[in-house]
Symmetry: C2
Subunit: 307 residues, 2 copies
């Protein structure tokens, strides 16, 4: 679904945040791990089953509060095909629960390879006349270092299937400056990527005025958010780096327009691991995650009013 | 295994080429497809089984000729978890056959996410004391747009496990110029990435003088290859874009040093689909692939003598 739909979901819940689903073994409540180990032994299948149960529980708890979830593919890939089966099930479950699903996989390649990635995460593959969509997420993160050849297969699917992408523009990490902050001619490097996103936005501007070719800009760069908000009025932002990485509610306010629209802020650990911070045994992980999500919503609400 | 091992395998076979494993439904010989459809129906499982049989057959035919294979993850990802199971089996089979395996997945992320990608493709994951390595490739392609934060988790595994990476420097596609050829300060953008690779090469230079932090530079840019070969004497090159994309044996000669070392050239379709070009029914796809691989070796041999 398009950025219009994401914005609608945000407005409906008055909550511009997305819950990152980045499971790691140490985040899983012991009762889930114990059950999965008992069933499958100490295997990738057991861990994948634990990730699936944990993430589905988070989705159940968070669906009334957040408009979107963002599964991080890497954590599933490291479990091999068992991990990917869990990821498929988690995406389907989140969509069932009416959440917008942003697949965070930062793919980027050229030609038919980029087409395969786009088909994998936003589209479908044809198997002798039968169409099969392994993930069918609403949106995907894309790395544009290879230029428009690498991005177009994704934007074509945005047009055909009413989806969106988030192009990496200015990432939240410290060393992003090594590449993204270099001056390339008259522009900073990350502006080059932002301009590519604009160029690829033809026929992809939604009814709310935002493009389905959106951008990732880290919460750790509030000044960049402020400048980019002013310079790119049609660009929707995904803002990672809130919480553990140092971004605050005060910082992310600059990502939003005057109506409190145009951006969504990600938090992962602070929500997933709220049960650990509370010092519980983890059986209440869903309730704790929900509390943390409401707290984040309220924190951002101090600075951003969604009209 | 390290770039030293790759170079040894190249020298032993006097063949600086890698066979890309980029399966698509239309490349698979009909007899394989028919058997897999009969067994599994028109499902992703059937197509994954067909990819696995096809790629293993190619590996059998090519192992005496080429030193390395390069599976392209995208084509397996589009089949969901069934595709990833096939990819696991193909990597294991290629390693058994003593081939160097370069996983072409162009991953790039930050922090613990980059660690998860590195663990997935070059390392292992710990499941309550039991170590599990889903792919355990010898090398992986990496996108460095996020800076050294995104690359270091991979280079750490290079050190710990004697592996290598290929950082995207100058890709073979036309639109690579939109980002990679911009002038950033005193350097072209792709040189910035090459310099990051050099910076991360500490303790990673092999006995043959080449770094385990290697680079991707397209065959479609012979002048870039020539300049880079002179400027980066310790940088090993993976050269895609040969054949279908327009790169020739004459073009790729500039990737090699005076001993005919320091680079490996990729071909995918010309080898995988040799049976189609020959107009056969596909039952001889292995023999045809072997012929095409020998032809490529000989074509490059006209320009490059490996000492």
């Amino acid at each position: 679904m398009s950025i219009d739909v994401l914005q609608e979901k945000i407005c409906k819940r008055k909550n511009p945040t997305v819950a990152g689903l980045d499971p790691k073994p140490e985040y899983i409540p012991p009762h889930i791990l114990a059950r999965c180990y008992a069933q499958y032994g100490k295997t990738p299948k057991a861990m994948a089953a634990a990730y699936e149960e944990f993430c589905k529980g988070l989705i159940d708890a968070l669906a009334p509060i957040v408009p979107a979830v963002k599964p991080q593919a890497a954590y599933f890939e490291v479990l091999g095909h068992d991990g990917m089966a869990a990821l498929e099930n988690i995406v389907a479950y989140a969509k069932q629960k009416n959440l917008y699903v942003i697949m965070d996989c930062k793919r980027g390649d050229i030609g038919t390879t980029a087409e395969a990635y786009a088909a994998a995460y936003l589209g479908s593959v044809d198997i002798d006349g039968t169409s099969y969509a392994p993930y069918d997420a609403d949106s995907v993160t894309v790395n544009g270092y290879l230029g428009t050849d690498g991005i177009k297969p994704f934007t074509q699917l945005c047009k055909q299937r009413d989806k969106s992408i988030f192009l990496l523009v200015k990432t939240s990490n410290k060393s992003s400056m090594e590449v993204q902050d270099l001056v390339a001619g008259d522009r900073l490097m990350y502006r080059v990527l932002a301009d590519l996103a604009v160029r690829l936005s033809t026929d992809l501007i939604g009814q709310n005025g935002y493009s389905n070719v959106a951008a990732v800009i880290g919460a750790t760069h509030p000044q960049v958010l402020e400048t980019m908000r002013a310079k790119y009025p049609q660009m929707f932002f995904l803002v990672p780096g809130y919480g553990a990485q140092g971004g605050t509610a005060k910082d992310v306010q600059y990502a939003f327009d005057r109506l409190g629209r145009g951006a969504i802020v990600n938090a992962s650990r602070s929500i997933m691991c709220a049960w650990q911070k509370a010092g519980t045994d983890g059986t209440d992980y869903g309730a704790r995650a929900a509390e943390a999500a409401v707290k984040m919503k309220n924190d951002i609400g101090l600075y951003v009013r969604i009209l």
